[in-house]
C-alpha cells in the first residue's frame, strides 16, 4: 500500500544525458511537490503542482521541467545533466495548498541521482 511512490530508486547516468523521474500518489491528494536533498542533507523545494497547475517554481535551472498529467502524478524531466545535479530527489504530496485547507506532506522514498 505505497502512498507516494517514485521510480527509479537509483539513477546513474553520464553528463549531458536527459533523464526522467516518475512520481505517483494514491492518497487522493491534489497537490504534489519535488524536493532536492543535497550532499549535506539539506532539503529544498523545487516545484509544486496543485490540480495540474504549477504553483511554486523555485529558482531552478530551466533544464528541470516538471510535468503533471493528472493530479496523482508528477514527473520530473532533467535535460543535459550536470555533475551538480547529483542529489536525492524526493516527491511529496498533500491535500490543499491554500492556507485554509493545507495538510501535512507525505514523502516518497527518494531517487538517488548520480551524474558521472
Amino acid at each position: 500500500d505505497t502512498a507516494v511512490s517514485q521510480t527509479p530508486k537509483y539513477l546513474v547516468t553520464q553528463m549531458g544525458n536527459d533523464k526522467s523521474i516518475k512520481c505517483e500518489q494514491n492518497l487522493g491528494h491534489d497537490t504534489m511537490y519535488w524536493y532536492k536533498q543535497d550532499s549535506k542533507k539539506f532539503l529544498k523545494i523545487m516545484f509544486s503542482y496543485n490540480n495540474k497547475e504549477l504553483i511554486i517554481n523555485e529558482t531552478v535551472p530551466n533544464r528541470f521541467s516538471p510535468k503533471s498529467p493528472d493530479k496523482a502524478h508528477l514527473n520530473l524531466h532533467i535535460n543535459s545533466l550536470e555533475l551538480g545535479d547529483s542529489a536525492v530527489y524526493f516527491c511529496a504530496s498533500s491535500q490543499g495548498i491554500r492556507t485554509a485547507n493545507y495538510n501535512e506532506q507525505f514523502f516518497g522514498p527518494g531517487t538517488r541521482l548520480t551524474v558521472l
Binding site: K41, S48, G110
Partner: protein, 106 residues
C-alpha cells in the same frame, strides 16, 4: 523568507537516554512538521503540529507558535532512533531546517 534553525546539530546518546531537539523559526507559520530520516534515506512523518502537544509512543512534540519554537522529545532512546531529525515549517511553502543528526549507541 522564513528561517528555520535546529539544535543541536549533532547528538550522541547511550541507549535508554532521553533527549530534546529544538526548532526555532523566524516568522509566523501555518503549520509545522517533524520528520525522521532513517539511515536508508526514508523520510518518515513523526508529527504534524502547528501548535500544542502531541504524543506517539516514546516520542512527543510541543509547538509554541506565539514564541516561534517547537520541541521534539525522545524518551528511552533505541538504536533504531538513529538518523536525522528534520523540522519543517510552512509559510507559503514548506521550509526545512538543517536537521539534527542523532546516533544512539547500544
Amino acid at each position: 523568507g522564513i528561517q528555520v534553525e535546529q539544535s543541536p546539530p549533532d547528538l550522541i546518546l547511550q541507549e535508554g537516554a532521553n533527549s530534546t531537539l529544538r526548532c526555532n523559526f523566524s516568522d509566523s507559520v501555518n503549520n509545522l512538521q517533524w520528520f525522521h530520516q532513517n539511515p536508508w534515506g526514508q523520510l518518515i512523518n513523526l508529527f504534524y503540529i502547528p501548535s500544542g502537544t502531541k504524543q506517539n509512543g516514546r516520542l512527543s512534540a510541543t509547538t509554541v507558535a506565539t514564541e516561534r519554537y517547537s520541541l521534539l522529545y525522545i524518551s528511552s532512546s533505541q538504536t533504531t532512533d538513529s538518523g536525522v531529525y528534520f523540522c519543517a515549517v510552512r509559510g507559503n511553502k514548506l521550509v526545512f531546517g538543517a536537521g539534527t543528526i542523532l546516533r544512539v549507541k547500544s
